[in-house]
């Protein structure tokens, strides 16, 4: 079987992260932004797994870490969506560029 070199995986995660960041910056829809954030978290996860695979010491830590991250991501999403919902109730919008009562 072919073993990918670590660098490839890192680059892949970096790209994933960049996509997440880009999305977080340009998406209008808050849900979209939340999803982009998930991408960023997953990029990190890939890193963790990759490192735990490739670096000798304490291989399991990275994987455990990743698991926790997944859990956290889920809760974050839950909370996030709840808040979005609440916002929608009062503002009737989920567009990030329409919530700017608070400024300056």
């Amino acid at each position: 079987m072919i073993v990918l070199p670590l660098s490839h995986i890192l680059i892949f995660s970096l790209v994933l992260f960049a996509i997440g960041v880009y999305g977080a910056l340009v998406r209008r829809n808050i849900i979209g932004i939340l999803i982009s954030i998930e991408l960023m978290l997953n990029a990190a996860n890939i890193n963790l797994i990759a490192f735990s695979k490739y670096t000798s010491l304490s291989p399991e830590t990275g994987q455990i870490f990743a698991l926790f991250v997944i859990a956290i991501a889920a809760t974050a999403a839950a909370v996030g969506l709840a808040i979005v919902l609440a916002l929608y109730r009062v503002r009737k919008t989920v567009q990030a560029d329409e919530v700017n009562l608070l400024k300056w």
Binding site: A24, L25, L101, K103
Partner: protein, 647 residues
Amino acid sequence: MTSDQIILVPLLPFLAFAANILAGRWLKNRAAWLSVATSSVACVIALPICWAVFQGAHFAHQGTWLMLGTVPLKFGYLMDPLSATLLFMVTIVGTLIQIYAAGYMHGDPRYSRFFAYVSLFMSAMLTLVVSDNYLLFFMAWEIMGLCSYLLIGFYFEKDSAANASLKAFLTTRIGDVGFLLGFLTLFAALGTLNFSEMNTLMAGAHGSHATLNTGLLTLAALLIFCGTIGKSAQFPLHVWLPDAMEGPTPVSALIHAATMVAAGVFLVARSFTLFMAVPNILPIVTAIGTITAFMAAFIALTQNDIKRILAYSTISQLGYMVTAMGLSGLGAGTFHLITHAFFKALLFLGAGSVIHGTHVQDIREMGGLFKKMPHTAVTFIIASLALSGVPPLSGFWSKDEILLSAFGAGNFLVFGILLLTALMTAFYMFRLIFLTFFGAARNAKVHAHESPALMTGPLWCLAVGSIVIGIPGSPFMHHWFQKFIAHMVHYPEYEPSGLVMACSIAVAILGITLAGVMYLKQKHWAAAVAKNFPLFYRLSFNKFYFDEFYAAYVVKPFNALGHVLFGFDETVIDGAVNGTGRNTLFLSEIKNWIDQYIVDGAVNFMGTAVYFLNSFVKRIQTGFVQNYLLIVFLVLVAFLILELKLA
């Protein structure tokens, strides 16, 4: 005999001052008697001591007043020929004038205030006379200045009086600051401010100047002389004295004729050793004195206010004294100081009595007063004769001494000018007399009457004084006075010369007759002269335009500078301060401004691309969470680069 009671001499008048200023409201007319009593007691205490000094005694006593660095600055009194002479004069004249004033000021609302000031003045003057060091001298000197200020402005409701007082104080103040710097310099040079110590140092270093820093001493002498210029109303600071005539006449007599203005000359006499020790300072003194003497006399020719004429005559005579000092004629100068004190005080009191009787000051309003007020007239004429230098009156002897010292010193230019001045003196004095006491009354409204005995009494006393006070310096007593002064300091003396006497008598007679002709016989001459020599006339009548000059080139610029700097203060400096404050506000304002206009503008009508471009330009806090995030990432990148460089 002990001499410490001398301390009472200045102290008693001071008590009178305190009493009058604090309890004046209750004292009322008793105020005058308080002052008179104290100064006469002072007189009684002083005279024996003076007498002892005349016999050749010499008293001094001092105590530490202040520590300068490590040297104690001692205050004390010094009774040597000079101070004895002045003490003698001041106590007598002062007392007489106060008696006169008791009558003259009668019924004035601020009666007690007046005598309070006069007593304070007496106290200061006496302190000055007996003081043994420059600092005490200066302190007394300044307080006299204050009294002069207060008394000139005594009728302060009159703006002219208020202005005159301010002018007098400030003008003399300029000289005083010079004086202050002068004795600071002296202290730097000699390490002492005490007269006797200075004299001994000077005497010791007389032969060899090596021991002393001549340059510094010259500077000191020059600066000290500034004090004289201010106080004795010498050119160019003489302008305050004529205006000082706004004060009550007794004040003019006491302060601005007999005593205070003479203090300047006294200062030179006190510093005489210093002036002798350093080269090329005496010529300056002479020059100043001569110029003053001539100029003032020249102005006096055309004045019409009786007191102003006398004022200018005073300036002129002070010029005489200063000239004498400049010609190193210490004896002559002091002698003239004393005689002048008597007859000039008399003249002023006479003038006062005239004003008191007629309530006018312009001599053109007067005339034919001789019959109406004989005592005044007679005494006045005696004084004028003395002033004009008619033998055997006191003025003749002293003036002759001065002329002699000029002549003896071979300084014929000065001698000539002084003679000319003497001529003018005789002329304007008798112009005054003829216009005032003789001829017909020119103003019907003036109802003259003789003054009360309270005022004429002192007049007669002074008249006697004016006649006899010259004797001690005259050949009849073999110039005892000059020798007496010479005990103290050595200075050149000259053989009496008949020629000088002749000249001085001649010019006196000439002046008087000229005046008689012009103002009793050929009345139109005066006008003719004025017409034919317009330049001279205008110069004289307008006092050489000194006041105008100072107003334009000193006073105005000063005030202007004040305003300019104030403007500077408010705009520039304060501006800078507020500026910093404003800028902070401004920054945050800008921030908001950009946020509100540029940003919103962008958001409202620009597409996404421009919107992103804008978010580069605009500042933070737009309310758009994504802009925040953008900045976060930008900064993140920036730091990444920075860090990777650093590492």
